[in-house]
């Protein structure tokens, strides 16, 4: 039973959102935001989840924490299926899994002082027994996250975006979690602040032995922070592997296009690099293409791709690809 030793083990996760229509608000269809994805994360590692907007990467993160009820699938946390827990049991697991959101403005209640925002969950879960003790812990957490503890009495609107994100991280750390979902945690920040937050996340991960699911559309950030990477397209994971496998030995044409689309940092490169420009737009997840979902934009697509959905294939240990044309790219 080596599989159950995996720290985080997501199996066949599906998240369908019903589309309501008509007079009686009956269900007329489904948005398949997440459609049958499976992956594992080892303890103490960072898994990057990349994809474009609407590919279901945020939904995946939220469903894993059961912030949205899943349609189907399992989410094993050290072998325990989070989705099957009763509310009381789930509350215990809430201390172990946390989330940091993208928008540092909407993720803090404007009407609570910082010490309440960071500390309330500690009181709720009995981690601290009184407010005195709570304040002590809040000060420690703020210090750890690069905030000035004497500002704990302030309200969110008195902080800048980067500081707010630090508050969000302090709040997530308050319960001593082992697993944190970072949902585009640095995307909304200014360039010079992004690097501060990335370093902070990395420091915390190493010093506290945290495990991250790092959701982002920014490949260079994912490459910097992740140990393994999964690429999502229209609700499916199309390629997954170690950082090395994904960035240097990618096999899926979508991964290749994504990597090539990221603008280079070197102005001299632009003359000689041949960029792969994907044609067309992302199809709607409520009406995904038949067969391989990527075939409408894929430069390699053939008749088989239009009809048959490819099965995930493990090409080498830990490297999964979902494509009919594996091997064509390398030629």
């Amino acid at each position: 039973m080596t599989e159950t030793n995996k720290f985080i083990d997501v199996r066949h996760l599906k998240q369908y959102f019903p589309i309501k229509g008509g007079v009686f608000q009956s269900t007329v269809g489904y948005v398949k935001a997440v459609d049958d994805i499976s992956f594992t994360i080892n303890k103490g590692e960072v898994m990057g989840l990349v994809g474009e907007s609407g590919c279901g990467k945020s939904t995946t993160g939220r469903t894993m924490l059961k912030l949205i009820n899943p349609t189907e699938g399992e989410m094993l946390y050290e072998g325990v299926d989070i989705f099957k827990l009763s509310n009381a049991e789930l509350k215990k697991y809430r201390t172990k899994m946390q989330i940091v959101f993208q928008d540092p403005y909407s993720s803090l209640n404007p009407r609570l002082p910082i010490y309440d925002i960071i500390g309330e969950a500690m009181l709720e879960h009995g981690i601290v027994s009184n407010r005195e003790e709570m304040m002590q812990k809040v000060f420690e957490l703020m210090d750890k996250c690069g905030l000035f503890p004497e500002q704990a009495g302030r309200y969110p609107h008195q902080f800048s975006g980067g500081q707010r994100q630090r508050i969000c991280i302090a709040r997530a750390l308050a319960l001593n979690p082992e697993f944190i979902v970072c949902d585009e945690a640095v995307s909304a920040l200014d360039v010079s602040i992004q690097s501060q937050i990335i370093n902070l996340l990395k420091d915390l991960q190493e010093s506290m032995g945290l495990t991250y699911l790092f959701i982002s559309h920014d490949l260079s950030v994912v490459k910097f922070i992740s140990d393994s990477v999964a690429v999502m397209y229209l609700g499916e994971i199309v390629e997954m592997g170690t950082k090395e496998q994904i960035f240097n030995h990618y096999l899926h044409p979508y991964t290749e296009a994504l990597l090539s689309a990221a603008p280079s940092f070197d102005p001299r490169k632009r003359q000689n690099s041949k960029r792969i420009i994907l044609q067309g737009d992302l199809p709607s997840p409520s009406n995904p293409p038949t067969g391989c979902r990527f075939h409408t934009r894929c430069p390699l697509a053939n008749e088989k791709c239009k009809k048959e959905s490819p099965k995930p294939i493990e090409v080498e240990p830990g490297h999964m690809v979902k494509c009919h044309c594996i091997g064509v790219l390398s030629e």
Partner: protein, 297 residues
């Protein structure tokens, strides 16, 4: 707040950072709103303490002094049976403002409870409550008033009940809408992720955010209830004479002769209605701006 310390750490004085402190600061900078607040305060004080100002009682009839223009004896003159109009004006204010407070309170209680239920639970509860509110909004207002007054009798209590029962849907919809949009905020999602109890989610996170909107609604509703009560009393559908209200004080001036020659019958209550409604509206606008922290700059 400085008492709350640990590890020898002292917080900055947090008074100037408190949320409601900020609201008050912003409101204070709005001169028009502050003037309105003061005027309203004076009107309310006058209504409460009218027995001290005035040496006449409410229904003291002095036939000898009837129909007098304002003078040192009767500050706002007397009516056609010699009642002191200054006294009646502020006793009328008690009723008019009292009805406004009672109706607003009742409609907010009904509306906030139903709106919160609809917003928090969603689904079938939401659909049911919203359909009911739509039905209430469809009633032709005057006809319902006349009918109910006829059935239950013409009293202040009936008036209060009718007005509040007919006006709760608007606040219910505001509260529901707010809760629905707040539930989508990331910080509510963070609460769920942190395992914060429902009770705390509602009272610490949802309620203070909705409260701002309710407060604004209250000021605006006060103004509209005063106006409605006035119109109904003017039509004879509201409070019955001899109990004075601003509405039926004006109603007594409902003939051309009085309008032309006896201004003291109708100008003072008219002015009171005008002033109080204007002030409530300005205050409501001021509060709406002050409550939004983004209006700081």
């Amino acid at each position: 707040m400085t008492t709350m310390s640990g590890n020898g750490m002292t917080l900055e004085s947090s008074k100037k950072y408190s949320y409601w402190g900020g609201v008050w600061d912003r409101l204070r900078k709005n001169k028009l709103a502050m003037v309105s607040l003061v005027v309203l305060f004076i009107i309310i004080l006058c209504c409460i303490f009218v027995p001290i100002f005035s040496k006449y009682t409410l229904s003291e009839v002095t036939m000898a002094d009837r129909d007098q223009a304002p003078s040192a004896v009767h500050w706002l003159g007397t009516d056609n049976i010699g009642r002191d109009l200054f006294t009646r004006l502020f006793y009328g204010g008690r009723v008019s403002l009292g009805v406004a407070v009672a109706v607003t309170a009742l409609e907010c209680i009904i509306g906030v409870i139903l709106g919160s239920l609809a917003g928090f639970f969603g689904g079938k509860v939401d659909t049911a409550i919203m359909r009911i509110s739509e039905i209430f909004m469809c009633f032709p207002f005057l006809m319902i008033c006349i009918t109910l007054q006829a059935v239950f009798g013409n009293s202040i209590r009936t008036l209060i009940i009718i007005l509040s029962v007919l006006s709760w849907p608007s606040i219910a919809r505001i509260v529901r809408g707010q809760i629905l949009s707040l539930r989508e905020m990331d910080y509510m999602e963070a609460c769920r992720a942190l395992g914060i109890s429902n009770k705390r989610q509602i009272f610490k996170h949802l309620f203070p955010n909705v409260l701002a909107y309710i407060i604004v609604y209250i000021t605006l509703s006060m103004a509209s209830v005063i106006l409605t009560e006035t119109s109904l009393s003017f039509l004879g559908l509201g409070v019955n004479p001899p109990t004075p209200t601003w509405g039926n004080l004006i109603q007594e001036a409902r003939n051309l002769y009085i309008l032309q020659h006896k201004w003291w019958y109708w100008v003072p209550p008219g002015l009171m209605i005008f002033l109080s409604i204007l002030c409530f509206n300005i205050l409501g606008d001021g509060l709406r701006d002050a409550i939004d922290p983004k209006m700081q700059k």
